[in-house]
């Protein structure tokens, strides 16, 4: 029941990170994370058994590194979203015209998102709502800040609440990812469509 949000590391039961991990352990953890991302993308209900097999690792080893299914999903979500957050920071949230900044951000984080959208979807529905919110809060609040600035500058519409604009962005990114998944768009086409649609959806009328 207690949230073990010792984020960033894959320490299952050790309270303190203890010392360095052995090289093969490190390798296995990487393999598990990759396999899990791919498994959850294919099937949101993927079992620990499937994931261990896909990672080429015994089930016991999997539990050795991630104490529960939930811990694994939480770690996956944490990593994916913090990658995006890093890109967000690197974009320079508070500089340049807000609409240009958003555009740049979307473009530079698209590959990341495209790769992880389905896994994130799985995590979102298997994790308690509160945990999901915690993981998102960084990105969402940064987006909110960017959009709010854009409204003040006149680049974005202010006839609708900022939170709605944020979730518009969120929803359209999802939709673009789904189209790629369904084979109706290539990744590049999806990005272009997303870009064009966001531009007109957010611009002041």
């Amino acid at each position: 029941m207690e949230s073990e949000h010792r984020s960033g590391a894959a320490n299952a039961r050790r309270g303190t990170p203890t010392h360095p991990r052995r090289a093969d352990a490190e390798r296995n953890i990487a393999a598990i994370l990759a396999a899990a991302t791919s498994c959850f993308a294919k099937n949101p209900n993927a079992s620990m058994t499937e994931i261990a097999a896909a990672a080429g690792v015994g089930r016991v080893t999997l539990y050795g590194h991630f104490s529960s299914r939930e811990a694994l999903l939480s770690e996956l979500m944490e990593r994916a979203l913090s990658e995006v957050a890093t890109v967000l920071e690197a974009t320079g949230l508070d500089e340049g015209p807000a609409d240009e900044t958003l555009r740049t951000f979307i473009r530079s984080s698209w590959q990341l998102l495209d790769r992880n959208l389905r896994m994130l979807h799985a995590a979102r529905r298997a994790l308690p709502a509160e945990a999901v919110h915690d993981h998102h809060v960084g990105i969402l609040s940064a987006m909110d800040r960017l959009i709010t600035r854009g409204r003040q500058e006149g680049a974005f519409r202010d006839d609708l609440p900022a939170h709605w604009l944020v979730s518009t962005v969120y929803a359209l990114v999802q939709a673009a990812g789904d189209q790629v998944e369904a084979g109706r768009f290539t990744s590049e086409e999806a990005l272009d469509a997303l870009d064009a649609t966001l531009a007109s959806a957010l611009r002041r009328p």
Copy 2:
């Protein structure tokens, strides 16, 4: 394994609708459908036991009317989507300016969608992809027809593929529903925001 798409009726094993159903059976079926909608909205993984309890019937009775969990979900989706399809037809797909028609359609089907979005989400993920597609095909193709006409008339943008515009509508409706669910919008606010956002997202640039 065989798809029993004898849609519209809740006949579990009877091949032919045989004769009328008894009044109490009819009543229970209605209670089950209502309870299931509400249960799946709260928890996409709701079990048959939960649903039977919520409907105030025995589990055996539930299985008596719906031969499997899948059959129940399929019936729910069928009913919800055909309600929407009915509204779509009633809107007069091929008359008047396409943007006005879309607007009218969204407005008149919003309550229906708002009520059922979460249940539909649950059904969508529990049913085989093919079945989901079959249920949607009516609405999606009608939407596609409307949007294609709108593009020819110059009301909607034609710099992006029609299927993308359709899924933009779909995604934003979802997002609006989620905002209501999250308590950040009332149903009316969400509808207004949806309306305004769709207008600018679909208009030609």
